[in-house]
Every structure is written in structure tokens, then in C-alpha cells.
């Protein structure tokens, strides 16, 4: 018999979180959360750390409307986990204010002066490079989930006791 397999995804407005059946030990050891639940709980573009290993992070946020402009001394990456998100890029005229030793993204006061590089429109499962020392911002017509491969920085928020199974 031929079977048509259905791949099951989730979204910020429709997720089915799993869980942990404990035999012994502490459920907190597994730092168990859900990126859609995290994105749905917090303000647009508030990045919440869902995984951390030394200084490195995976962060989840809700994309909705237009974000501030950000930059970073190193590459980061963003993955759209459900709905459309635009990423806009600017090659800044001045990058001298970026400290090479400072990890993590940080917010710019305003849209920076520079040359518009273009945009990428991401849909479910699409990954984009956020190049080092480039300004970027996001735009989403409706709430969507963005996941970042990043490093702990000014924009990273740790809320473990709020997001994890206890």
C-alpha cells in the first residue's frame, strides 16, 4: 500500500508541546521549552535564550511589525520557523563603533546611514545569514517565530524559570 506521509510542523499559534516522563532525577536537568511558546509569550523582537552553551545561544523571538535596527561584530543566523519574515540589510558607512571583542547583537539608535543591500523574504524553514558588521532589521505582517544562532549579548534575555518545565 502506498502511504502519503504528512510532515508535522507547528507555529506560534498552533503548537503541541511534548514533555518529560521522569523516572528519577530532576526535570529541570533537561531545560525543556518550546520555541513557539516562548515566541508567543513575549514582546515582539524580545529575544529569549532557549539554549545556551558557554557564551553561545539559540534564541527565539516573535517577529511582528517592524523591528529596530541591529548589528553585531560577528555573523549570526536567523531561521523562520513558521510565517513570512523579511530581513533588510544596510552596509553601514561607519562601523568604527563596533567593538570586535563584543559578542552578541546590539540595537542601533536609528536606521543607520549607509547603502541598502537588499532584503530576503523568509518563509517556514528558511535560514538567512546576518553578516558581521552589517545592519539588519526585520518586518513581519503577522506574528511569526524567528530563531537565532547567536552569542549571548545585549539583546539576549534569560528567563529559564519562566519558559522551562519545572
Amino acid at each position: 500500500m502506498s502511504v502519503e506521509y504528512k510532515t508535522t510542523y507547528a507555529s506560534i499559534d498552533n503548537y503541541n508541546k511534548g514533555g518529560v516522563q521522569m523516572v528519577s532525577g530532576n526535570v529541570k536537568d533537561y531545560v525543556f521549552s518550546n520555541i513557539y511558546e516562548v515566541a508567543s509569550k513575549y514582546a515582539p523582537y524580545e529575544r529569549v535564550v532557549v539554549a545556551k552553551n558557554l557564551v553561545y545561544t539559540i534564541e527565539s523571538c516573535k517577529a511582528e511589525g517592524e523591528s529596530p535596527w541591529y548589528t553585531c561584530s560577528h555573523d549570526e543566523f536567523a531561521i523562520a520557523f513558521d510565517y513570512d519574515v523579511e530581513v533588510h540589510y544596510i552596509k553601514m558607512d561607519d562601523t568604527s563603533f563596533i567593538d570586535d571583542e563584543k559578542d552578541g547583537s546590539f540595537r542601533l539608535d536609528d536606521k543607520p546611514a549607509g547603502q541598502y543591500m537588499g532584503k530576503i523574504t523568509l518563509n517556514r524553514g528558511h535560514q538567512a545569514l546576518l553578516p558581521e558588521k552589517t545592519a539588519y532589521s526585520f518586518k513581519a505582517a503577522k506574528p511569526a517565530t524567528l530563531v537565532f544562532q547567536a552569542i549571548l549579548g545585549d539583546e539576549s534575555n534569560e528567563k529559564w524559570s519562566e519558559i522551562c518545565l519545572t
Binding site: 511534548g18 528519577s24 533537561y30 531545560v31 525543556f32 555573523d75 552569542i151
Partner: protein, 324 residues
């Protein structure tokens, strides 16, 4: 003294025997036999070859690769322990465990020779059970093409100029039967003139839908020492991976059940049911084995920092991902 070793007729089956220090490896039509000074250990040949495939592909991986609850390897990064019962409470408590240390390159060469000789034509130890033939029967050719696949490793990000290629029909990666419904469209990249090579995106889910192996992460993007290692999983992880550091999982589609046992004793600790969007961390003192009822997409998130190695060596590596 009674000889308890099973008689294996290489003349009849056509397979070779192999030795590594005090260990001898033999196979017949259905089983692998691991002989060591205190006895003999037997495993189904398909389970043995699937585990051996991962141990080779992962370069002995991080920590312990338990082929099952008794036999396996422990990576010391430059040298490796080959053991019987060392990670099994009953063997240890009764003094029945045995372990021998090898330079990694030496044992790897022997493992590759075993895998090459014992994998017959039509059997692919990297594949899901429904996508391959069986490992059973007498020697019948080989499948060196299948077992010599190497994992794709991005230098910066998959698909960038000069970097590892995105999987496609043209590069020989067709969409897997379980992922026929995965959207294959690419992100819309509208680069201004002169910036075509500087902004980049690709369809990670489509890339994963074309993976031709199971339980074998590749690397798609690198943020300093942070390695995003997505993989597709189906049926059972062929080993119980014993962690020597924490390991994060992000479930992207479908679901996986993870059976968690104590790293040393193998006593059960927990079951994790991970569905799309779930994030969990494997503690550094456990062993885990995944069960994926349908082919699913999983991101294994690794940290390649030398600092982790130092912490393992000096015993300060964190046991859990986050304390809160």
C-alpha cells in the same frame, strides 16, 4: 577449560576475522562476535554494523558510543577505549568488564576494515530500515560507496559562494519518501547590485528533506564555535550515546522519543517526548537513544570550543545545560 566461543566458519561465509589488541571480531550470517580475554560477546550483525557506521562517521563522537548496553567505545580525543561492560553496572560490580585503549587512528583503521568487509551489497547501515536490504547472509560483494559517505560541513553557511553545496536533484540528493510534502521553494533574495554574494539565505527544511542518511548530523552554519548540525531521524538511533558534555536538541518537525539512562549504570532516568518546536538539553552524565516513528527533522546544536575539551579534562564541564 570449556571453549565457549561460537564456531564461525569463514570458509563457508567468506568473511574475514579482525583483531584489535586483545579483541577479536568475527561474523557469521546473522551475528557479530566480539572475543575478549574473559569471554565472548554476541550482537545481531545489523545492529552491530549500524552502530559501527555511526562510530566511524562521527570519529568516535563526543564521549561514549554504546553499541548496546555492554559493548562500545569511549573517546578521549586522540585515543579511544574499546570496552566490554565498562558502562554496565552488573559487569563492573562483578568484575567482568574489560577495556583496552588504542590510538584513535589505529582503531579507526580497523573499524573501517571491519565495516567494509562485513557490509554486503545492498545493505546500507546509514539508511532507514525500509530503505535498505538486509545485512544477513554470506559474503556478497560490498557497499563501500554507501559507507564512505562523509558528512557535509559548512565553512560559514551552506550554499554561499565557495562553501558546501545545498542538496538538490542536480547534486544527487532527491527528496526522501517521508518528506514529499516539504515545500522546496527558496527564500526570495532581492540583493541590490554588488551585494549578491553578501546576503544569503536557503531553505533549510528542503535541504534536510533531501538527506540520504539517518542519525548523522551535518553542519549548515557556524557562529564562531557554535555549530548548527541538523539531521533527519527515522526508526532508532543505532547507539546509546553517552554524553561527556551537554548536548542540545531542537525538534523542527514531527516527533522523537528519547530514552534517557544513567551514563554509568544504564539505569532508566526519563523519557522525553519532543515535538515540533521543543528544545531540550541532554545532561553530561546520561546516555540517550532516540526513537523517531516518522522521518523527522532535528537540529543537534554543538559547541566546538576548545574550552569544552579543557573542562572535560579537568573535570569541570557542567553537568546540565543551565541551572535555574
Amino acid at each position: 577449560m570449556t571453549n565457549l566461543n561460537v564456531a564461525v566458519s569463514n570458509e563457508q561465509t567468506g568473511y574475514q576475522n579482525f583483531s584489535a589488541g586483545s579483541f577479536t571480531f568475527r561474523r557469521d550470517e546473522y551475528f557479530a562476535y566480539v572475543d575478549y580475554p574473559d569471554g565472548e560477546y554476541v550482537m545481531p550483525i545489523d545492529d552491530f554494523l549500524k552502530a559501527l557506521m555511526r562510530d566511524i562517521a562521527w570519529g568516535f563522537f563526543y564521549g561514549t558510543v554504546n553499541f548496546d548496553s555492554v559493548f562500545g567505545t569511549i573517546n578521549h580525543y586522540g585515543n579511544v577505549d574499546l570496552f566490554i561492560g565498562t558502562q554496565n553496572e552488573e559487569y563492573v560490580n562483578n568484575g567482568k568488564d574489560f577495556m583496552e585503549n588504542f590510538p584513535s587512528e589505529e582503531l579507526m583503521e580497523i573499524f573501517k576494515a571491519i565495516l567494509s568487509d562485513w557490509t554486503i551489497e545492498g545493505f546500507d547501515p546509514f539508511a532507514a530500515p525500509q530503505e535498505t536490504g538486509t545485512a544477513w547472509g554470506p559474503k556478497n560483494g560490498n557497499n563501500d560507496e554507501a559507507i564512505s559517505r562523509t558528512r557535509q560541513v559548512a565553512q560559514r553557511m551552506i550554499g554561499m559562494p565557495g562553501d558546501t553545496e545545498i542538496r538538490s536533484d542536480e547534486t544527487g540528493y532527491t527528496v526522501n519518501r517521508h518528506f514529499k510534502d516539504v515545500d522546496q521553494s527558496n527564500p526570495v533574495v532581492e540583493a541590490e547590485p554588488g551585494f549578491e554574494d553578501q546576503i544569503h539565505g536557503f531553505n533549510l527544511w528542503a535541504h534536510l528533506s533531501r538527506s540520504d542518511v539517518t542519525w548523522n548530523p551535518s553542519i549548515v552554519s557556524i557562529c564562531k564555535q557554535s555549530l548548527l548540525c541538523p539531521t533527519t531521524e527515522e526508526y532508532i538511533l543505532p547507539v546509546e550515546h553517552g554524553n561527556d558534555r551537554v548536548e542540545w536538541f531542537i525538534q523542527c518537525s514531527d516527533e522523537i522519543v528519547w530514552e534517557i539512562k544513567d551514563g554509568k549504570s544504564s539505569k532508566p532516568r526519563a523519557s522525553l517526548i519532543m515535538r515540533a518546536g521543543d528544545v531540550a538539553c541532554m545532561p553530561a552524565d546520561i546516555r540517550h537513544q532516540g526513537f523517531s516513528p516518522k522521518r523527522s527533522m532535528l537540529i543537534v546544536w554543538e559547541n566546538g570550543s576548545p574550552e569544552i575539551m579543557e573542562k572535560i579534562k579537568n573535570g569541570t564541564v557542567p553537568r546540565v545545560g543551565v541551572e535555574f
